[in-house]
Amino acid sequence: MSEFALEIKALSHVFGKFRVLDNINLQVLPGQIVAVVGPSGCGKSTLLKAILGTDPPTQGDIFTDGVPVRGPTRNVGIVYQNYTLYDFLSAEHNVSFGLKLDETSFWMRFFGLPAYMAKRRQHLQKSRNFLEQVGLSDACGKYPREMSGGMKQRVAVAQAFIMRPKIVLLDEPFGALDEAMREDLQLMLLRFYQENLIAKREGRRPEYTILMVTHELNEAIYVADRVIGLSRFHTHGGQGAAIVYDRPCPVFHPDDPRDFSKFVEQREELRKAVFDEKYVKDRDKYVTFWNELGALAAQK
């Protein structure tokens, strides 16, 4: 087991002659919720696909829990913006689908029926418990076509998290939802973070490590405990997008009232560092996460 849930070393990606990503280095600790922001087309999706393993980078290495990423595996979960639930499965079967694939073999399903059925009963019970956690206990038997966008997204989140992957990637997970639904799902992520804190206090490895791509700066700072900005607006921008912002951000409790005024300063700093094309600076100017973490640990 590695110290880091995710480690990216010297990652670069080129499309033809166009260099999209340049020398990305990133370490994510277990239990962190990392938000990734950046201008449209800067390479956030490219980075996500590289971590997922579907589009390997042209240079560099990626490790999840110390294991090199060679293709999509169960070490990395994914929640897409358009949910991508399986139409032919109900909510509880969608959520337990991974357990079926992971814990039963193809041959067991045809030739070991009693053992398979017993396993499936356990899976479905686990799935129902998870759906209850995300507020969907009444929707277990519904098919995706019978669900709203918010319901589908919660099922997609449950489907990914029930597998306990080393890290879950959220690709603009709330982009297609209305404001009320977004808030509900943001609170769900904050509740996961609280469970991480409990796990750390009890000496266990936190279960929910998340890397979330979002366009919403408020959402990034509110939900995450660390924000990363990807951008070409730095002194070597012609060589591709780099991490130009990497800082911790305040942790909110799901029961606290939503008050975005608490992080106005950081939001403005983030906007300037990542989105302001006129502000060309050294790429490492705002990459201070590890220094700040070290300083915080020293204070304690």
Binding site: F88, G98, L101
Partner: protein, 269 residues
């Protein structure tokens, strides 16, 4: 106005009225033809059609050695050939179509061949079947199987490419699926309604190929009997057989729609 709603009672009244008008018009034309020529059999009256119905259900052969009525002999022959031919054709096209849709390296060499051969009318290929397979039972079943194989393979491989997104497949990998599991648990289950719909659409063409073959080289079967009875202008039997073909089509349609509803309750047409 286009799509103007009408009351249900009016819809049924017009539907029944349409059928009654058609049958009434037929009876009038038949009566007129009979007045011109009393012995005409090309447009038999409903009474004559009734006699044709009795004829096809009458046991054949001598009383001491009766043989089954010709209707059952012909039905058994045609339905058996159709079932076997479609079974083989559907199984082969699903196997090849799914693999073509799943693997680009299989799609690349096969898609030009499948596309080209799907454009050749299967009835035009009959001389090829005679030469390769002979004129016995194998010829009929291979005619049906190959007749539907190419177009159905194309439809299935397109369904795999269009109805199963890359994201759904990548997600399955992240949930721990192996390749064979992705093919069975994701691709097959996602496209199953399309497969059933394709089978439904292929029954008509399959019947065309089979009846054409039976008319040319058959010694039993609905197509053979239609040809034989037409030659002696015994149209009262021919019309009963044509109605039987329509009935087979309707039953098959209903059966496949019911099957799709049972196996794919999640699917909305």
């Amino acid at each position: 106005m286009i799509r103007l709603a009408i009351p249900l009672w009016l819809f049924w009244l017009l539907a029944i009225g349409g059928v009654v008008t058609l049958l009434g018009s037929y009876e009038r034309i038949s009566a007129r033809q009979t007045r011109i020529n009393e012995l005409q059999t090309t447009i038999p009256s409903f009474e004559k059609i009734g006699e044709g119905l009795k004829q096809i259900f009458r046991p054949q052969g001598l009383p001491e050695n009766p043989k089954p009525p010709m209707f059952w002999v012909d039905m058994r022959a045609t339905l058996w050939r159709l079932a076997v031919g479609m079974g083989v054709g559907v199984a082969a096209s699903v196997f090849v179509g799914v693999l073509m849709g799943a693997y680009r390296w299989i799609e690349a060499p096969l898609s030009p061949i499948v596309m080209f051969l799907s454009k050749i009318p299967p009835t035009a290929m009959m001389p090829i079947y005679f030469a390769l397979v002979g004129t016995d039972q194998k010829m009929f079943t291979s005619m049906v199987a190959l007749g539907i194989f190419f177009s159905m393979t194309q439809s299935i491989y397109k369904a795999v490419r269009q109805d199963v997104s890359d994201e759904a497949i990548n997600k399955a990998y992240t949930l721990g699926a192996s390749e064979i599991e992705i093919i069975y648990e994701v691709i097959w289950k996602q496209i199953l309604p399309k497969i059933i719909d394709n089978v439904r659409l292929q029954i008509g063409p399959a019947m065309v190929f089979l009846l054409a073959a039976e008319m040319v080289v058959g010694s039993a079967g609905l197509g053979y009997q239609i040809r034989m009875q037409s030659r002696i202008l015994n149209m009262s039997v021919v019309y009963v057989y044509l109605a039987t073909l329509a009935f087979i089509g309707l039953v098959a349609e209903w059966a496949l729609v019911t099957l799709r509803r049972k196996l794919c309750p999640w699917y909305v047409d």
